[in-house]
Subunit: 417 residues, 2 copies
Amino acid sequence: MLDGRTKGIPGTTEPFALEQIAEKGWNVLNEDLPLPLMVLKRSALDANAQIFGRYLAEHGLSLAPHGKTTMSPQLFAEQLANGAWGLTAATVNQVQVMRHYGVPRVVLANQLLGKTHLHTIDAEINAADDFSFYCFVDSVAQLQNMQRHLGGVPLLRPIRLLIEVGAAGGRTGLRTKAEAAALAEAIGNADQSQFRFAGVAAFEGVVPGIDKTPSLVSDFADLVVDIARALPTSLYAGLDEFLLSGGGSAYFDLVAERFKSIDLNVPVRVLLRSGCYITNDHGSYQSAQNQAKADPKRSWKSDLIPALEAWAYVQSTPEPGLAFLSMGKRDIPYDGGLPVPLKLYRPGVGFLPVGQAEIFATNDQHAYVRLGADTDWQVGDMVASGISHPCTAFDKWRFIPVIDDNYAVIDGVLTFF
Amino acid sequence: MLDGRTKGIPGTTEPFALEQIAEKGWNVLNEDLPLPLMVLKRSALDANAQIFGRYLAEHGLSLAPHGKTTMSPQLFAEQLANGAWGLTAATVNQVQVMRHYGVPRVVLANQLLGKTHLHTIDAEINAADDFSFYCFVDSVAQLQNMQRHLGGVPLLRPIRLLIEVGAAGGRTGLRTKAEAAALAEAIGNADQSQFRFAGVAAFEGVVPGIDKTPSLVSDFADLVVDIARALPTSLYAGLDEFLLSGGGSAYFDLVAERFKSIDLNVPVRVLLRSGCYITNDHGSYQSAQNQAKADPKRSWKSDLIPALEAWAYVQSTPEPGLAFLSMGKRDIPYDGGLPVPLKLYRPGVGFLPVGQAEIFATNDQHAYVRLGADTDWQVGDMVASGISHPCTAFDKWRFIPVIDDNYAVIDGVLTFF
């Protein structure tokens, strides 16, 4: 049930179930909803699912989309219905949310450790007939921590381990073949009813320097493949398939190309974990897409459509060339570039040219905008901005309306951050 | 009811009401709760309420604490019980939350405008016997927008208007006496059953350059007083009191000193809106407090105690001198400095020296830490960090446990962002 405590819901609304939202007849342009408001465009979500699905099929790739981006069970269900192999989580809490909504296969793309976390995972595995759980491991110390906390608990299905490889100067993940060999040995010696090797994983998005030199992604992917190849074949002798997983939302094509080159004595599933394809953006991911399209060596040539818009009022124009929008750090991402004004709507008049306008700073609840000399923004105007970094857009909203191309509210999603 | 969908709640917990949380017997140090976890220290909250309350009493000041900091109705209730005159909100949604929990007097320290927002406010005013609502106005255009959307709706009590004054190059608020005179005239001509002048307000925290030259705060406060003095006395002839409001959590003493100097033909209530005093922090607000203490001209000389700690696991130590904590942009503030590691707890061993350790970057779910040569952090250790900027700490959590000095969970708060 939603009520006026939830940001984005009008204060005069009686409590209602989300499924009834289309019946409200709300339209953003009619000022039926309070601002600021983040909206999701249905047509863009659908187009992106098609575009990305086609790419995966053409290249023989599997997808466990990163659920951390949206943390929205309704979008998870759409992704699974569209053929996702599973879902990816970044934290045990995210796994809990996915299990609450019945997601059958989850990759925790992170180190599992700690008492409560192990107890949660063993309880989830033993509570269901159909839950397959994978997680990353990058050190013997982490494996030992998991073993200690699991104790002698019998599991219906083992925790499937993906050895994480990281880049020097990067983030988590072991760095060398020697470390991988030591960890492989420890995994081989573990109770196989509790822990089972499942493959190798990496995240190329934090390789130092890739923003300037994307070819470093390919070098890193080669390192991952080398380490995977060097593992003792006994480690995966009984496996149906060897998972080789990588791929965020910016360089997944480069990773997939190298990962597909591996040849082992067992079938290999190349599993991407891209999360931001579902909405793309008007900032860093649009730039990454344009960068790929401009590079003749890249296979990713499609146009994902930005699905998120942040709406706010012009609340004050206190000096010439200076305006304030009624949205801030609580509403819009600011970690990968500030939002970009896209559209101006004047209630009672209609859409007008947005003019030259740049958001140059944010406070908790305000955005500072520099206007060009000929830009006509009036107090009470509504401005839609495109955002950069979908992950830190979704996490600022518990409810996001889904709109059609005329800004009518036809659905809504809840998030769990 | 809370369950495993909520960050901070163990996944194995049956749904329960927040009031039952103390009965769980949970202790952070016993790994009973998942990490990352933000915790609120009961003793610090109580100490800060006392320290700040004493300051207000000694200086004859009123407080409408900014609710945007915590957006936690339980903390609102404590603040009102401790003598707060009212609460401050930054958005209409925040007003809605406050009204849901029965807060009787709310200052919307922001421009009110827009169809749905006006309908919400008129509905709230007319639905209760005891709701006094104040908001900022900084332009005739905004007043006209409010008048248009309110239409002929009769109100049980008028919307009380605070003329907002802003600094040149700052944020919202009119800049000059001439603008104030024009707005005062428009307010005087408005339907007084709908809109009533109530005073003058400002926020000194966004005056350009104050981080280097705090005396600019005093200059700005003088401007606010000048503009208030120049208003036509007819505007407040019938008022019981004239509100003069300012004061965030860094320079409130400088503002209060100047505001108290005003002499009008009506009683003046100097109303602070500080929000962060309730938790303070280990970053920007601690620095502001130290700055005040070191300045012989400042009246604020107390030691508020940081009430927030962010706990996370050491999840990986992939290179010498490099460690990763299991918390990131979704869990901790990063807009006013990154968290500072304070404590190291090794399960089964106890507290150990945290050593030399600096968080130097964050991703969505990870913190990058540089360790000194002699710093001993092991995978599975728990680290408590102090944060900078309480507002962007609270807004990353829907539930925050309240702990005693031994890290036992004795209560919890819910937030509504």
